[in-house]
Amino acid sequence: MNTNQKIAHTFLTSRLRQLLVAVLSVTFGISMYVFMNSFMAGVNDQQSEITFTSMPHIKIYNELPAEVKPILPQPKDDNTALIVNSARNIRYTEGIKNADAIKDKISKFDQITGVTTQLNQNIFIRNGVSKANATLSGINTVSENLMFKTSEYLVEGDLFDLDKRSDGIIMGTLLAQNIGVGMDDNVVVTTSDGISKSFKVIGLIETGAISADKSRALVSIQTARQLFSKNKSYATEVMVNIKDYNTAVTMANEIAKLTDFKVEPWQQGNSQLDSANVLRDILAIAVSLTILIVAGFGIYNIMNMTVNEKIKEISILKAMGFNGKDVIEIFLTQSVVIGLIGGFTGLILGRIIVRIVDNIPFKIATLSTLPVAYNPTDYILAFFFGILITFLAGYLPARKASKVDPVEIIRG
């Protein structure tokens, strides 16, 4: 301990009650920061988990060009009129002919945690006279299951039987109910091109998302390709999951450089989810920073009082040869020590609060307790902001202390 630190230490320990109050205000601020952010992150994670049971982080598909290219160049001079009647935006290709090539290309990104291909088409599904519109998804069972844990949502049957039986189909529970079929019943699928094929129901799936359960039917992707007479590597969508779904936009931009197909991060078309997440984050940060700033004012106040109380001591120190920098160091050290002690106890208290909240029963939807997250970054940021704010709050009083004119005080 150098001399200035020794002085700071003596000043701090001579007023234990004040020290305690200052430390507690930091403790409180930091624990609230940890709690708020962990809670909001927990809610966000919960929301995302539900969202991503059927939706990938990034989707690659063939989209109609948004802009219709002009058929003829705009005439240069004003005397020529150009009229094009009934210009049409014709889709020359449908779907992705060579989905495997895209899978290969994007496999170089190590942020990618899962890729699967799907062939989705609207179909008619019929059981005798009862029929319904549905979406037929040809899926790659293994990679689909890795990405979406599809097999967990099967209420009957086995997902992987799709690979064994080319006439097997798994239906959404509500869809099956709609047309009155159950396990092992036969249904007829008719494509928009008028091709019909008979399938046997070998499984029922219930995801909890009503719209999907009412309209979705799964077959293996090979079966779907045969049904729609598509080539071996054909798919309508390539679905990609990445390590951190918050970075989907940047990743999508990276992937878009490699392909002409539309690369869509989940935020597009799900802006309500995205904005809810962002708003919750902003709320958490705003509230927790406010609490930290209030704690900062507390420290500012206490340090200011300390400086006023110690003005005589400051004058003596300066008369003995301590300079302005020493005085700043002495008082800033006190604030930083308060920040460090308050920081550590705040992290511990925050962690305890989060633990308690994690165990509060909350039985709505799929939840059983309040959702919280345990992100190390929340703790690191809480500590960082805590130290930053004590530093700033301590700096102003310290500077004031360094400006004390010793003669004024010593003269009496």
Binding site: T3, E313, G321, G324
Partner: protein, 225 residues
């Protein structure tokens, strides 16, 4: 070369009304000299001492200590200059109340940082013994008597063996026995270590035994004997 040379110093106070406390003061003090400053209450002795100690920089004229002109130096420079060259005993013996007696004495030396902590502590104890306050060194400075505090302040002023020791009534609170101890210490330091002593005093006997008396009256030097 004089240890202290004061050139034509003038000082005003502006609050509450403009008032000239010190008027054209010039004098020199040689190395190893023991000088008493006397004068009626309010004549400007303390004010002069604050100027000499470089704490107060708001004056006209110039002051040189140890051949260095301190007038016009920056605050931080002055702080380290004081630390090394000037020992000061205030009229109201200011100690740091939260620190122990020993810490109070050691602090200027710890700040100077020329010697090891053990050496400093050794020297501090030596000074405290000399000033007859051995045994109190681990008490808080606020928990000893006024006279003891004054002697601690003297020990603190001596710890860095400064070229000049300035005291504003350094024996003001002391009985005659301790006054004699302090006087003898000063006398010895001046004679044997060549340290210069400047002490404001109301004690005629103390003043009479010094090498020289400087008398102030209404902010002017009366005469230099």
């Amino acid at each position: 070369m004089a240890t202290l040379s004061v050139n034509n110093i003038t000082k005003y106070f502006y609050e509450p009304v403009e008032f000239q406390v010190l008027k054209n003061i010039s004098f020199e003090v040689e190395k190893g000299e023991f000088v008493a400053i006397i004068g009626k209450s309010g004549s400007g002795k303390s004010t002069l001492l604050y100027l000499l100690s470089t704490l107060d920089t708001d004056y006209e004229g110039s002051i040189s200590i140890n051949g260095i002109q301190v007038t016009g130096l920056k605050q931080n420079k002055l702080a380290s200059f004081r630390n090394e060259h000037i020992g000061f005993v205030f009229q109201f013996h200011f100690l740091l109340p939260d620190f122990t007696v020993l810490d109070n004495v050691m602090l200027p030396a710890l700040k100077l940082n020329r010697k090891s902590k053990d050496e400093i502590e050794h020297k501090a104890i030596e000074l405290l013994t000399l000033l007859d306050i051995k045994g109190q060194e681990h008490k808080k400075a606020s928990k000893i008597s006024g006279g003891q505090q004054q002697r601690v302040a003297i020990a603190r002023a001596l710890i860095n063996s400064p070229a000049i020791i300035m005291g504003d009534e350094p024996t003001g609170n002391l009985d005659s026995k301790n006054t004699k101890i302090v006087f003898d210490i000063f006398r010895q330091l001046a004679r044997e270590q060549g340290q210069t002593i400047i002490a404001v005093t109301h004690d005629d006997e103390f003043a009479a035994n010094c090498d020289r008396i400087i008398e102030l009256s209404d902010g002017m030097l009366v005469d230099t004997i």
